[in-house]
C-alpha cells in the first residue's frame, strides 16, 4: 500500500433487511471520516460494483469488511468465503451475521413450509403457483438462482471471523466509535482488540444501562406489553413483562426499556455465554414464584411462543441452532 493509497473498506449484505447499512449511513457527518480515511471498494447498497471486481482483488487487500446479514443461500456462502479471502479484517456486523437474527427464525420451520408461505399464501398474488428454480433454460442459455438452505447460519459458522459487532442494527454511536478506533489504529495511536472480540458493545447486560428501579424478582404471572400499562419507573420483568434485557449484551443505552418497551434481545448474549436462550430461560424460570408444577405451567402459559421469543435474535448462534423440521437430514 503506497502512501497515497487509502486502506480499502467493504460492506456486504447477505440475508438482511438493510438496516445495518442504514445504521452505518446514520453516523451522519462521520461518514466523511470514512470517506477521508478509506477507499470504499464494495458496498452493494451504496455503490455499483460487480462480484468479479472483488474476485480480481488480491487476497487480503481489503483492510476492513463489515459483513451484515445471515447465511441463507449458496450466494451468501460464496460471498462470505470471497470476502474472507479478500479481507484482512472481517467483522460479523449486526445481529444477523453474529447470531442469525430474524432470518434465523425460519430455522423453526421446514424449507417446504417456508416456500409455501412465501409463494402461496393469501398476501402473495401467485395464482399459477410459480416457484423459483435454481436453474432455468431460456433461449439465451441457462440462468441460475442461488439455492436457499433450509437452515440459516451465522457468518462464523461458514468462515472464520475476526470481530463481532452485535445489534439490530448496531447503534450508530457505537459504529462511529468503532470507526474512530480503526482510524486510530491506522494512525498507530491504538491497538486492535484481541481477535474474536465483540466490539461496539459493553461488557455487561442491558440492565446495567437501564434507568428503571430494580428489586427482588418474583414472577406470579407473565403479561404481554400490549395488555397492561406498566409503571415507567420499575423494572419491566418485575411487572410480568418478559424483558430480555437481563441476558442481552449492553451497548445500546437500553433505548427500548427506557422508552417503555421490553428489550427483545438484539445485542445478543453477554460475554462468554455459550447459548443466549439458556441464560434467559434459566434466569426467568428461576424466579417464577411457585413450587407447584401445575401452577408453574400455568404461569408459563403466559409466554405463548417461548422458543420464538427467547431465541428471537439468537437462534442460529444457539447450541441447537435450528428445529428438527429445518434440518432436513438425509
Amino acid at each position: 500500500m503506497s502512501k497515497n493509497e487509502k486502506p480499502k473498506f467493504a460492506m456486504y449484505w447477505a440475508d438482511s433487511c438493510g438496516g445495518c447499512d442504514i445504521a452505518v449511513l446514520n453516523i451522519h457527518e462521520k461518514i466523511l471520516d470514512v470517506d477521508a480515511n478509506f477507499e470504499v471498494v464494495f458496498w452493494p447498497v451504496a455503490m455499483d460494483a460487480k462480484y468479479k471486481d472483488v474476485e480480481a482483488m488480491p487476497d487480503e487487500s481489503i483492510l476492513l469488511t463489515l459483513f451484515n446479514g445471515a447465511i441463507h443461500s449458496t450466494e451468501h456462502e460464496h460471498i462470505a468465503h470471497l470476502m474472507r479471502k479478500k479481507s484482512k479484517i472481517l467483522v460479523a456486523f449486526g445481529s444477523c451475521a453474529c447470531e442469525g437474527c430474524m432470518p434465523a427464525l425460519i430455522n423453526l420451520s421446514s424449507k417446504k413450509d417456508f416456500f409455501d408461505t412465501v409463494f402461496t399464501t393469501i398476501s402473495t398474488d401467485n395464482p399459477e403457483n410459480i416457484r423459483p428454480q435454481t436453474s432455468v433454460k431460456v433461449p439465451e442459455g441457462v440462468i441460475t438462482l442461488p439455492e436457499m438452505y433450509s437452515v440459516v447460519r451465522t457468518l462464523d459458522q461458514v468462515v472464520p471471523v475476526d470481530y463481532y459487532m452485535p445489534g439490530c442494527p448496531p447503534e450508530s454511536h457505537q459504529i462511529a466509535a468503532v470507526i474512530d478506533l480503526v482510524i486510530q489504529v491506522l494512525q498507530g495511536k491504538a491497538e486492535l482488540p484481541p481477535p474474536g472480540a465483540v466490539i461496539g458493545a459493553g461488557n455487561s447486560t442491558v440492565c446495567d444501562e437501564c434507568p428503571r428501579k430494580r428489586d427482588i424478582k418474583k414472577i406470579k404471572k407473565f403479561d404481554r406489553i400490549q395488555f397492561i400499562e406498566p409503571d415507567p419507573e420499575i423494572c419491566l420483568l418485575e411487572q410480568g413483562i418478559l424483558c430480555s434485557g437481563l441476558a442481552t449484551r449492553n451497548g445500546c443505552e437500553a433505548k427500548c426499556p427506557s422508552a417503555g418497551s421490553p428489550c427483545i434481545g438484539c445485542y445478543g448474549p453477554a460475554e462468554g455465554v455459550l447459548d443466549y436462550g439458556a441464560r434467559l430461560m434459566s434466569a426467568v424460570a428461576s424466579v417464577i414464584d411457585s413450587t407447584d408444577p401445575a401452577e408453574i405451567n400455568q404461569i408459563l402459559d403466559g409466554i405463548p411462543d417461548p422458543a420464538g421469543q427467547i431465541y428471537r435474535f439468537n437462534m442460529a448462534g444457539s447450541l441447537l441452532q435450528a428445529g428438527k423440521t429445518a434440518w432436513n437430514r438425509k
Binding site: 455487561s204 430494580r214 434466569a283 428461576s286
Partner: protein, 670 residues
C-alpha cells in the same frame, strides 16, 4: 492443550475387573486420549491402597503430571484419599478427579462389552473435566470463642455446661421463663424411675450459676447474620416486668396475685397458675414473669398487688422488651419438640370425652408438684381409676398423621403402666403395635411391668367411646380394638385413657430453621449433615443440632448429642480458625449488571446487593456451593469453583466421546 494427565484405572479386586475390561480401558486411555493430554495410563488392583497411591505420587514427581484422573469407586468414598495423595506429591489436591466405574458401572451392569464401553466414556468425561479444574485453596475463617445455645431443655443444658466447663463462654437462650424443657415436666424417667426433677435440677442450677454461662430466659433469637466463626445474633429479652437486679425470688408477688389462668405450657393445661408466676418451684432463674396479656393492670389499669407487696420494689410495669446483639462463633439449636395433638384423631375422643389425657398431662398428674399432688385420679380430682387404658402410637406410625415412630412412647407407656400399678393398683391395658425397647435396661423394664400383671394387647385402637352397648360398659370409656394375637375384636371398658401422643417438630420449627439457615426434612425435623455419620451437624457450617430437633429420641441420646455438639465446637474453638471447602460462587463485578435475579435465590442469604454500585456480591463464607445462582445468572457473571461451566460442559463432551479423533460408535450392542 498443555496439561499432563495421569490416568489410573482400578481393578478393585474383581469388583470392577470382573465386569469391566480394565486393561482395555487403560490401553484405550493411553492411546486414544493421548492427544487430550494423557501422558500415562496405568491399571492397578487396588488404587486406594498405599501402593496404589504411591503410583500416583511417583508419576506426579517423575513425569510432572499436572492433572490426575482415577477411575475407581465413588468419590464419596475416596475422593479425599486421592486428593491427599496428590497433595503429598506437591500437586494441588483439586487438580484430581475420581470417576466412578464401580457403583455406577461394574456393579450395576451385566453386559461386559457395554460396561467396558461405558467405562471408557466415563473416564473420558473425567479427563475432559479435569483439564478445566483449577488449583483451589480452602477458605480459612477465624472462630469467635463464644457460643450460642438456643433452647434450655436437657440437650441445651448439656451442651452449654460442657462448653462452659471447657472454659468457653456460652449464651443459653430459652423462650420460657425457666430452663428445663419437657424433662422438667416429667415425674419419673425410664427405665431407672429416677425422679426427673431430681436428676435435672442439679444441672439446671449448675447452668444458672456457671460463670461462663450467660443465661437469657424469657428471650428469643430474632435475627442471625454472618457465618461460621462470625455470627452476629440479635436476642430479644422479653419484658418480665420484674427487675432481676432487685428480685430475691421470695415469691410474695405470686402469692398475692389475685388472677389465675390455665397454665397450658408447664402444667399442660391440667392446672392454673397466677398471672405473675414462676413456672415450677425449681425454676432457674428463680425470677417470676408477668403475663401481660392476662394482667389486670395491663388490661384495666387496676390491681398492682404484686408491686404493693414486693419487699424489694422489684416490680417494674414500665419495663420494655430489650434487644441485645451478641457475637458468637458457633450455634447449637436444641429447641426440642411439641406433642402431637390428639384432637386430630376425633375417634379417640380427646377433648370431647372426660378422662382422656395425653402423656404430658399424665406426667403432670403423677408429679408430686403437679395439680393433684401426685395422685392419679379422675377428673373429679378425688376418685382413683380402677381400670386404665394406655394407647401407644397416637399420631405416630400412622400414614394419616406422622409416618415415623416417636421412639420413646413404648417405654413411656410402659412406665405409665408401672406408675399406675404402683399408685392405684388399677387394672391396666397397654395397646400397642410393636413393643420397642431398644435401650439399655429397656427390655428388662418391659419384662418387669409384664410381671406386674399389666395386660398388653397387640392392636391399634380403633375408637375410644362412651356409648355403652352393655350394662358393664355404662359410665365407662370403652376402647374398641382388634386384639391381633387372638384375632378377635375386643371392647374394653376403662375409667381413664392415657394417649401416648407422638413427638412432632415445634410448631415454628420451619421459621426458626430459616432464621439460622438450616432446612427441615419432609417430616419437619431439622436435616443433619449425615444421618449415620454426622447427626449433630447441619449443612450450614457453625450451626449444630442436638436432641429432639433432629428427630425423636430418649434422654440418653439427647444428652449424648448435646455433648457431641459441644465437643465439636470445642475442637473448632481450639483450632482458632475453620477451613471451608472451596466450592463457592463468585460474581464478576464488571460483568454484573445489577439485574438482581440472583438476590432471592440463595437460602443462605449469601448474596448481597450493593445499591451504590448496583452490583450483587457473594459472601464466600456463607456460600454453600450449591451453584443455583451460577446457573441462573443471565449475564453469565457468576462463576462457581469446583463445578464450573467449563468443567461440566467439558465433561459432557467427554461422556459423549466428542473430542476423540474419530467419533466412537456411541451405540452399545443390544
Amino acid at each position: 492443550m498443555s496439561e499432563k494427565i495421569g490416568v489410573y484405572v482400578c481393578h478393585c479386586g474383581t469388583n470392577i475387573a470382573g465386569i469391566v475390561n480394565v486393561e482395555e480401558v487403560t490401553q484405550w486411555a493411553g492411546s486414544r486420549l493421548k492427544e487430550r493430554g494423557v501422558v500415562i495410563a496405568r491399571d492397578y488392583k487396588f488404587m486406594c491402597s498405599s501402593l496404589g497411591q504411591e503410583l500416583i505420587e511417583k508419576d506426579i514427581k517423575e513425569l510432572g503430571l499436572t492433572r490426575v484422573v482415577v477411575a475407581a469407586c465413588s468419590p464419596h468414598l475416596h475422593e479425599r484419599t486421592f486428593r491427599t495423595a496428590c497433595e503429598r506429591a506437591g500437586l494441588n489436591p483439586y487438580l484430581s478427579e475420581l470417576v466412578s466405574i464401580r457403583e455406577q458401572v461394574s456393579w450395576v451392569h451385566t453386559d461386559k462389552i457395554a460396561a467396558t464401553a461405558k467405562a471408557k466414556a466415563v473416564l473420558s468425561g473425567g479427563v475432559e473435566r479435569v483439564i478445566h479444574n483449577e488449583p483451589l485453596e480452602p477458605l480459612k475463617v477465624p472462630i469467635h470463642p463464644d457460643s450460642l445455645v438456643v433452647g434450655g431443655g436437657i440437650a441445651g443444658i448439656q451442651a452449654a455446661l460442657e462448653l462452659a466447663d471447657g472454659g468457653n463462654h456460652v449464651y443459653l437462650v430459652e423462650r420460657e421463663p425457666s430452663i428445663g424443657g419437657h424433662m422438667a415436666q416429667f415425674d419419673k424417667t425410664f427405665p431407672t424411675l429416677d425422679c426427673s426433677a431430681c436428676i435435672l435440677t442439679p444441672r439446671m442450677v449448675q447452668a444458672g450459676n456457671h460463670p461462663n454461662i450467660t443465661l437469657l430466659t424469657w428471650s428469643e433469637v430474632t435475627k442471625v447474620d454472618g457465618y461460621v466463626g462470625n455470627f452476629e445474633v440479635v436476642i430479644k429479652k422479653k419484658a418480665r416486668y420484674v427487675n432481676t437486679e432487685l428480685c430475691t425470688g421470695c415469691g410474695i408477688c405470686v402469692e398475692k396475685c389475685p388472677m389465675k389462668v390455665v397454665d397450658d405450657v408447664f402444667e399442660a393445661g391440667m392446672a392454673k397458675r397466677k398471672v405473675i408466676y414462676t413456672p415450677f418451684p425449681q425454676a432457674v432463674p428463680n425470677f417470676p414473669v408477668l403475663d401481660a396479656p392476662n394482667c389486670t393492670f395491663f388490661q384495666k389499669g387496676t390491681c398492682k398487688a404484686c408491686e404493693k407487696f414486693c419487699p424489694t420494689n422489684a416490680i417494674d410495669f414500665n419495663q420494655k422488651d430489650e434487644d441485645i446483639t451478641v457475637k458468637v462463633g458457633n450455634i447449637v439449636l436444641a429447641t426440642g419438640y411439641d406433642l402431637f395433638n390428639p384432637r386430630r384423631i376425633p375417634q379417640y375422643g380427646y377433648g370431647r370425652l372426660e378422662n382422656i389425657i395425653t402423656s404430658l398431662e399424665f406426667e403432670r398428674l403423677c408429679n408430686a408438684s403437679g395439680p393433684t399432688g401426685g395422685n392419679i385420679v379422675l377428673k373429679d380430682g378425688v376418685t382413683p381409676p380402677k381400670t386404665v387404658g394406655i394407647v401407644h402410637c397416637v399420631g405416630s406410625r400412622d400414614q394419616n398423621y406422622n409416618g415415623y415412630c416417636s421412639a420413646i412412647c413404648c417405654m413411656q407407656s410402659i412406665k405409665f403402666a408401672h406408675l399406675v400399678h404402683e399408685r392405684t393398683g388399677a387394672e391396666i391395658y397397654n395397646f400397642y403395635i410393636d413393643i420397642r425397647t431398644p435401650g439399655k435396661s429397656y427390655e428388662e423394664f418391659y419384662q418387669r411391668v409384664l410381671d406386674e400383671g399389666t395386660h398388653f394387647v397387640r392392636g391399634k385402637v380403633a375408637e375410644v367411646t362412651d356409648v355403652a352397648r352393655s350394662p358393664e360398659e355404662e359410665g365407662k370409656l370403652i376402647i374398641q380394638v382388634e386384639d391381633t394375637l387372638i384375632g378377635k375384636q375386643r371392647r374394653i371398658p376403662v375409667d381413664m385413657v392415657i394417649l401416648s401422643a407422638g413427638l412432632e417438630p415445634r410448631y415454628d420449627a420451619k421459621e426458626t430453621g430459616k432464621l439460622f439457615g438450616i432446612a427441615c426434612s419432609a417430616d419437619g425435623w431439622y436435616i443433619e449433615r449425615h444421618p449415620k455419620l454426622d447427626p449433630i451437624a447441619t449443612m450450614t457450617e457453625g450451626v449444630y443440632i442436638a436432641g429432639c430437633v433432629q428427630g425423636p429420641k430418649d434422654i440418653p441420646a439427647t444428652v449424648a448429642q448435646g455433648a457431641a455438639a459441644a465437643a465439636r465446637i470445642q475442637g473448632k474453638i481450639q483450632q482458632g480458625e475453620i477451613t471451608l471447602e472451596p466450592i463457592r460462587a463468585s460474581i464478576n463485578e464488571d460483568q454484573c449488571s445489577g439485574c438482581r435475579i440472583c438476590n432471592d435465590l440463595c437460602p443462605f442469604s449469601a448474596i448481597l446487593f450493593h445499591e451504590d454500585r448496583a452490583v450483587s456480591e457473594v459472601n464466600a463464607a456463607l456460600c454453600q456451593g450449591c451453584g443455583t445462582c451460577v446457573a441462573a445468572c443471565p449475564a453469565g457473571a457468576i462463576s462457581g469453583t469446583g463445578f464450573s461451566n467449563e468443567q461440566v460442559l467439558a465433561q459432557i463432551e467427554g461422556l459423549l466421546l466428542l473430542n476423540i479423533e474419530k467419533i466412537e460408535s456411541n451405540k452399545v450392542p443390544a
